[in-house]
């Protein structure tokens, strides 16, 4: 198993913290993990991307240049990184923010209106975890339960009251994928 996940957004959108959460969960499952953030000079509004590699074997290059999964949170990133995804790979798009217009036909595309989904859960801050839940359901790179556990380590203690809604968001994402799958089955 080797997943090379690239999460791309603007600073402040939470791409880096989502990546860290995923990487941390990978560590907890005893996998080989690497996490490399790439950001611009500005803390807010600039480029904020990260690559997360999770594998059962030692990781050669921690740099994700040909992702198996691409998560995009702005249209700039979609344009820029669509070409890089490996054939047969997956792009998850936050379609609340980005029009899911993809040129390639040799990859899978999953648009999720993550912001709306998050709002319906009562907290717009958890949009990224809706996406992460979907990613986990498709790739099974780590278990959702592990990510829920990892929240305890990644969130500061004063934010621990946020854990339940974050877990709900993860589950929501997974559920959406199952719904899609059922749709296609018919």
């Amino acid at each position: 198993m080797l997943e090379e996940i690239y999460i791309a957004g603007f600073g402040g959108q939470g791409a880096l913290s989502t990546g860290q959460l995923l990487a941390h969960a990978g560590l907890m499952e005893g996998k080989y993990v690497s996490y490399v953030p790439i950001y611009g000079v500005e803390k807010r509004g600039g480029v904020a991307n990260c690559g997360v590699t999770i594998s059962n074997q030692q990781i050669s290059s921690p740099l994700v240049t040909e992702p198996t999964v691409l998560v995009v949170m702005n249209s700039l990133s979609l344009e820029r990184f669509e070409k890089a995804v490996v054939p047969g790979g997956l792009i998850i798009i936050n379609s609340s923010l980005v029009e899911p217009r993809v040129q390639r036909t040799d990859i899978r595309v999953l648009p999720i209106c993550a912001n709306e989904e998050a709002e319906s859960l009562g907290d717009p801050m958890v949009a990224n975890n809706v996406i992460l839940g979907a990613l986990l359901e498709i790739t099974r790179v780590v278990a959702i339960e592990t990510v829920s556990e990892a929240l305890k380590d990644v969130l500061p203690v004063r934010r621990h009251d946020m854990i339940p809604v974050n877990v709900k968001a993860l589950e929501k994402g997974a559920e959406l994928v199952r719904e899609y799958n059922n749709l296609f089955k018919e």
């Binding site: 690497s34 996490y35 990781i59 290059s61 740099l63 040909e66």
Partner: protein
């Protein structure tokens, strides 16, 4: 654990008692970590007014017998060069971390290996060498700090640890051995006040009389050849049956590892040699390998610096090529693989 934290924790466990430094990206998180961690264990973190001051505080602390370090990046390391020359001249141990960034000039904060020449060929004025180490994983960042301090003390010489923004930011699992017994050899040469020793101790690199300066140079030369003999370190990867050997250190070596795997999967016999000590350069190992391989490709995040040392080591026994991206750009696995294929079809394959 993040690379920056790994270096910090490695230093703490290596018995580093003092840190003097000045903020610069991409090493600032290392200073944040140490500013918190060192006082926890009753040691000193101090922010200096400049890199010039930092390295001279290191000079003072080291001459007073302490395990001490500083860290910086590109422009800051340039400002430290005079101080490093003094440290080398006065034979003082210390550890300096350089998180290399794109240059020249202010450049940028993106990962780079452009300071290879500066680190391995002197950097400052006068006839001297730093011991230069280049780890390539977060685990190795932790482990190499102990080695760096030990080498510095053993040879009474400054040691530079080279990494870049990717390694600084990268998170990988790390195993820390929690019993860290540090045995630090006594330093009878330290200038700690005459109470501590017979006669007067002097920390100095000024020899007005050329004959006296030359005798220090002789001592240094002997020391450097001793280091060159004992401390060349490198790692080999899939060298068996390799026609093309990649030579790469640090971040570039991680990319090359993936290149080796991909190339092997496509039936191209590629291997890699990863210098861990950049000075002394693992010339002996590369020179021996040159007897059985068809060519070398030095992959660097610069315009071609280490390739010169590879050529000297290979000594004409095989062609040596260079592939680089610079200015903060990082070569991709695909690009390097393309280059390998080009070389392979151009002759190394026959």
């Amino acid at each position: 654990m993040k690379g920056n934290e790994a270096i910090g924790e490695g230093a703490v466990r290596a018995g580093c008692r003092y840190f003097f430094g000045y903020p610069i990206t991409p090493q600032s998180e290392l200073t944040h970590y140490l500013a918190k961690r060192l006082p926890e264990v009753g040691r000193l973190y101090m922010q200096a007014e400049s890199e010039v001051a930092s390295i001279n505080m290191v000079y003072g602390a080291s001459g007073a017998g302490a395990r001490v370090m500083t860290s910086s990046s590109g422009p800051g390391i340039s400002l430290m060069q005079e101080g490093l020359s003094y440290l080398a001249g006065a034979q003082l141990p210390c550890v300096v971390v350089n998180m290399m960034r794109g240059g020249p000039g202010l450049g940028n904060i993106a990962p780079s290996q452009a300071d290879y020449f500066q680190a391995t060929k002197g950097g400052g004025h006068g006839d001297y060498h730093l011991i230069v180490l280049a780890p390539n994983s977060v685990q190795e960042l932790v482990d190499i700090m102990k080695k760096a301090f030990d080498l510095a003390d053993r040879y009474r010489n400054p040691v530079m640890v080279m990494a870049d923004g990717i390694m600084a930011q990268m998170m990988e699992p790390v195993e820390l051995d929690d019993q860290y017994q540090i045995e630090i050899q006594p330093k009878p040469w330290a200038a700690t006040g005459k109470v501590d020793h017979e006669g007067k101790n002097l920390i100095n690199s000024c020899y007005v009389i050329p004959e006296e300066m030359e005798s220090l140079n002789f001592i240094l030369r002997d020391k450097y050849s001793e280091i060159n003999k004992n401390e060349q370190v490198c790692e080999e990867y899939q060298l068996d049956g390799a026609d093309i050997v990649l030579v790469a250190f640090g971040t570039a070596s991680r990319i090359c590892r993936a290149v080796v795997e991909k190339a092997r999967a496509q039936g191209i016999p590629v291997g890699m040699i990863r210098p861990i000590s950049l000075w002394p350069f693992p010339a002996d190992f590369i020179g021996t390998a040159a007897n059985r391989v068809k060519c070398f490709l030095s992959v660097e995040m610069n315009m071609g610096q280490m390739v010169e040392d590879v050529r000297l080591s290979v000594c004409g026994k095989a062609p040596v090529y260079h592939y680089g991206r610079f200015g903060g750009m990082v070569p991709t696995v695909r690009d390097v693989l393309e280059e390998v294929k080009k070389i392979y079809s151009g002759g190394a394959g026959q």
